[in-house]
Amino acid sequence: MSLAVLGRALRHATITNKSIPSLSSLRFYGTEDSRIATMVQNNKVVVFMKGVPAEPRCGFSNAVVQILRMHGVEYDAHDVLSDEKLRQGIKDFSNWPTIPQVFINGEFVGGCDILLQMHQSGDLIEELRKAGISSALLEAASKEKSDSGKSDPK
């Protein structure tokens, strides 16, 4: 196919799309969902929050940031306040009505309450381990043990 023909075909495709608004809006929703699907796979831990980790703009988001910091977890954070499409899109994606939202290994884990309870029960350490992340709290605990000679170092 010559370049000219390809160019014509592309132009035609663009015009066709514009002339059917319902099709474009369908495409838009699909795109937002697949964009989020890519985002949650991009790192082992992904957080959707209000504000950024250095400056959370909601107490619940801040709690999530503090918990992950305690575990020494590196994660992707997305600020829903700076992206209106994402703010609604993430709620639809995970069928969860509130922010923050935490994903581990691409799986939706929960919001602030669930992460806090997982942190308190020790389940978070286990969930991170399954994702191949060693929690800093666990390392600190085993270091303490090995220092006192009760357990051999890693």
Binding site: C58, F60, S61, P97, T98, V109, G110, G111, I114
Partner: protein, 128 residues
């Protein structure tokens, strides 16, 4: 309920605490009704925490709920929270902006401190 109370006399006290707060706003009262009918809780608390946020006085935007129900037995946290979110989905769509959830089984509640900490401080992100 009666047979349960006989086994656990303390439940009489719990039942009292599931009575709706007379000062509750209309949204809180509706939420109370819905949670009561959905979960038949042995203990139910609703806390309107809107005053902690940058919203007009008397708002009903931020809530914390404590639901203690035998329906949660054998269910992981995320399913319990989804069930509560589903029960209050209309409210969450129409003005309730934050919902903090504590969902326990009667057994878990019994061994807990039964004290609920207030939600973390607002950091100004409400609204646009």
């Amino acid at each position: 309920m009666i047979s349960v109370s006989r086994r656990f006399p303390i439940l009489g006290f719990w039942r009292m605490s599931t009575v709706a707060n007379a000062q509750a706003g209309p949204v809180e009262q509706t939420m109370h009704k819905k949670l009561t009918s959905c979960f038949e809780p042995v203990h139910l608390e609703l806390h309107n925490e809107s005053y902690m946020h940058n919203v007009p006085k008397g708002s009903e935007t931020h809530f914390k709920v404590v639901v203690v129900s035998s329906q949660f037995e054998g269910k992981p946290l995320i399913q319990r929270h989804r069930a509560v979110n589903d029960a209050l989905s209309e409210e969450l769509k129409s003005g309730v902006h934050a919902l903090s959830i504590i969902a326990k089984t009667p057994e878990q509640w019994e061994i807990s401190t039964k004290e609920v900490e207030p939600s973390p401080k607002c950091r100004g992100g409400f609204g646009k």
